[in-house]
């Protein structure tokens, strides 16, 4: 083997935020193979200090425009844990219904706008608007409905308004809930069926690397909010012990902090959740998983996109069940109640890209003293790097364009949300 490859993909496209891929191989020997993150730091954990809890909940979603609802929910759950607030059944059903909208919008955006162009051989969804008009219109329709679904529940998906600690300050009309149920059962399910038909024709690259998969775990359901920290390698761990799971550390070849638990790296996100919780998927989602040949445990990171399609179906089924409950009981005009006290609380949710932690400490006036926020993309950087380490030797004999595409597609499969990554370090590259 006498292959020499040398390239750098600067600011990988169709990912949220900025990341680079660096590869350098001489005579078939790999000298460098790196996933770099040069994103500009935001300093959220510092700048939230001194703000009242309600303003913290309003500002924290600005960490990420795409997963604003996930950040809002984690932020509010942290406040509720610190102040010992318990939610009514109606409030927790609404929160779950809103969260499902977030999962759906984010996943649809990812598999249609960010992943599909790779398989159709185009640079973006833009040329598809004239060549595959029906597909683009379907994707836009699915996004629009899911946006309306979220707007209806929290005022605005980017960035949410009506959801607060203790519940919601505004409740939807019964008529709106009926519209949502009808739309999800009818048009949305049809569009999802068509999406499954489209995506099952795509051939996902054949690559596997077994690792640890981490996601929220509840015995009773496929959990996106609350529960314990589940792992494919060990028993569930309490959310308050999250730092024993994440173990953030620095490496000299990346500007982002890395995490590890029981192995070299762990993976979070749709495939990790599937590997931890697959037996609790709703029936149609289980069938869709079978259609794609997705079986737990799945060790192919390119299948994260498939797991996202499965979760989208699950989230729609889940929302129909919630809507039935809300519609049968009727909406009560409940007012959220919060009693401020000094204390610390951790909120954990499954953002579309994986497990997300907000950890806050408040003084007795409800002003924030300290914050620690751990973002799923930071947890996945190490997994991406270890995937690179295994993938590159397997494909080093291929043409450089193919190698580049395979590595970019791998990064995109993780759906990284780099702007979110709160912890960044400057490192000198050799």
């Amino acid at each position: 083997m006498s292959k020499t490859v040398n390239f750098k993909v600067h600011h990988v496209c169709r990912v949220e935020g900025h990341g680079n891929i660096v590869v350098n191989a001489k005579d078939g020997k790999i000298e460098e193979c790196r996933w770099e993150v040069p994103e500009s730091p935001r300093m959220f954990e510092s700048m939230l200090r001194g703000l009242g809890y309600s303003d913290v909940n309003f500002i924290a979603p600005r960490i990420c425009g795409i997963c604003a609802v996930a950040h809002a929910t984690a932020s509010i759950e942290a406040v509720e844990a610190a102040f010992n607030v318990t939610l009514t059944e109606q409030a927790s059903l609404m929160r779950e219904l809103l969260f499902d909208a977030e999962t759906v919008t984010s996943h649809v955006l990812h598999f249609y706008f960010l992943v599909a162009p790779d398989f159709l051989g185009v640079g973006s969804v833009i040329p598809l608007a004239s060549t595959h008009t029906d597909v683009v219109l379907r994707a836009l329709r699915m996004k629009k409905t899911a946006n309306n679904w979220a707007d209806m529940l929290c005022g605005r998906k980017t960035h949410p308004i009506s959801m607060v600690a203790g519940g919601f300050v505004k409740w939807p009309e019964m008529e709106q809930l009926r519209w949502l149920k009808q739309t999800l059962e009818g048009e949305y399910m049809q569009d999802l069926d068509a999406s499954v038909e489209l995506f099952k024709t795509l051939k996902f690259p054949d690559f596997t690397r077994e690792t640890e998969y981490i996601g929220l775990y509840r015995p009773d359901k496929y959990s996106f909010i609350g529960g314990a920290i589940g792992s494919t390698d060990c028993k569930p761990m309490p959310v308050n012990d999250y730092m024993k799971v994440t173990n953030e550390f620095c490496v000299p070849w990346s500007t982002a902090k890395y995490t590890k638990h029981l192995r070299d790296s762990y993976q979070v996100g749709a495939l990790a959740r599937f590997n931890v919780n697959h037996d609790k998927l709703h029936p149609k989602a289980k069938k869709v998983a079978q259609t794609f040949g997705l079986k737990a445990p799945c060790y192919n990171p390119y299948f994260i996109s498939v797991a996202q399609i499965v979760e989208t179906v699950h989230a729609v089924e889940n929302s129909i069940i919630i809507l039935d409950k809300l519609l049968s009981k009727g909406i009560k005009q409940e007012k959220p109640e919060v009693k401020v006290k000094a204390g610390r609380g951790v909120g954990a949710v499954e953002a579309p890209r994986g497990i997300l932690f907000h950890d806050y400490t408040f003084d007795d006036a409800g002003k924030l003293i300290a914050a620690n926020i751990i973002i799923p993309t930071n947890e996945n950087h190490n997994s991406i790097q270890h995937d690179f380490n295994k993938l590159l030797p397997e494909i080093i004999d291929r043409p450089q364009a193919e190698i580049t595409l395979a590595m970019e597609m791998l990064v995109r499969a993780y759906d990284p949300c780099i702007s979110c990554s709160a912890h960044m370090l400057e490192v000198k590259f050799i």
Binding site: H11, C13, P41, R42, C154, I161, V169
Partner: protein, 246 residues
């Protein structure tokens, strides 16, 4: 030739670009009317030749400042999109502390650090032709601005405070609900979305032109509040404005 449009992200959440992706069929119309030559969040096609550049996010590193200056040289029309690009937005909350303190809190003692600067809006560094205020900006206003630029019509910012739109929406005044609302001094154009959704105005669209200061003082007096109380709220999205500095 169709006008070439580019989107660039700086330090921020990329929610403004997402609002563009959240257009429905308008996005198809937009694609037909212009050539989108740079939109990294959604496309791998890139070019340094463009006519209209949209800037999202604030400038928080020396690299951000240099990049913005280069874009300014190339673009005929520069649009600051969203609160972060217009004024620094929520990113300016960190400017209450020294950069050294921010880095220490976020990274601890034993790390090498990224070089960062206090967050600034684009107009603090280069001239911009247009500003789309708000966190996030209003989707319809983005569409209106694009139409104006393409047809050569004058783009008018909204010149009334949020209160005007709030009255039209028939909301109960947030002050009457015991909230501290910034609606009386904040630029409208958002249809008072936050008050309509049951809360108050946080001032994300920044100060309205020529705010009615006397009327604001009367409101504060009526509800037993002070200018200092107001500034605490105002700084959440507008910490960089001179008027917000204590």
């Amino acid at each position: 030739m169709k006008p070439r449009v580019a989107f660039f992200d700086f330090t921020g959440c990329e929610g403004c670009q997402l609002e563009v992706l959240n257009f429905y069929t308008e996005i198809v119309d937009l694609i037909n009317a212009v050539d989108i030559v740079n939109f990294r969040e959604a496309s791998s096609d890139r070019s340094d030749e463009y006519d209209i550049a949209f800037i999202e996010g604030s400038m928080s590193t020396p690299g951000d400042v240099e990049r913005l200056q280069k874009i300014r040289e190339r673009a005929k029309v520069l649009v600051a999109m969203g609160a972060c690009a217009c004024t620094g937005g929520v990113n300016a909350l960190k400017n209450r502390f020294s950069e050294e303190e921010n880095r220490k809190i976020v990274y601890g003692d034993d790390a090498g650090y990224y070089k960062t600067i206090p967050a600034k809006g684009a107009p603090d560094i280069v001239p911009v032709e247009f500003m789309l205020h708000g966190c996030p900006p209003n989707r319809l206003e983005i569409v209106r601005l694009i139409k104006c630029v393409l047809t050569g019509k004058k783009f008018e910012q909204c010149h009334n405070p949020v209160c005007v739109e709030c009255k039209l929406a028939e909301n109960i005044c947030a002050f009457e609900r015991g909230e501290f609302c910034l609606g009386p001094i904040t630029r409208g154009g958002c249809n008072a979305v936050c008050v309509t959704a049951g809360r108050k105005c946080w001032g994300c669209r920044s100060l309205v032109d020529d705010p009615n200061v006397n009327s604001e003082k009367d409101i504060l007096k009526k509800y037993g509040l002070t200018v200092d109380d107001m500034l605490v709220q105002f700084r959440l999205f507008n910490g960089n404005l001179e008027v917000a500095k204590a």
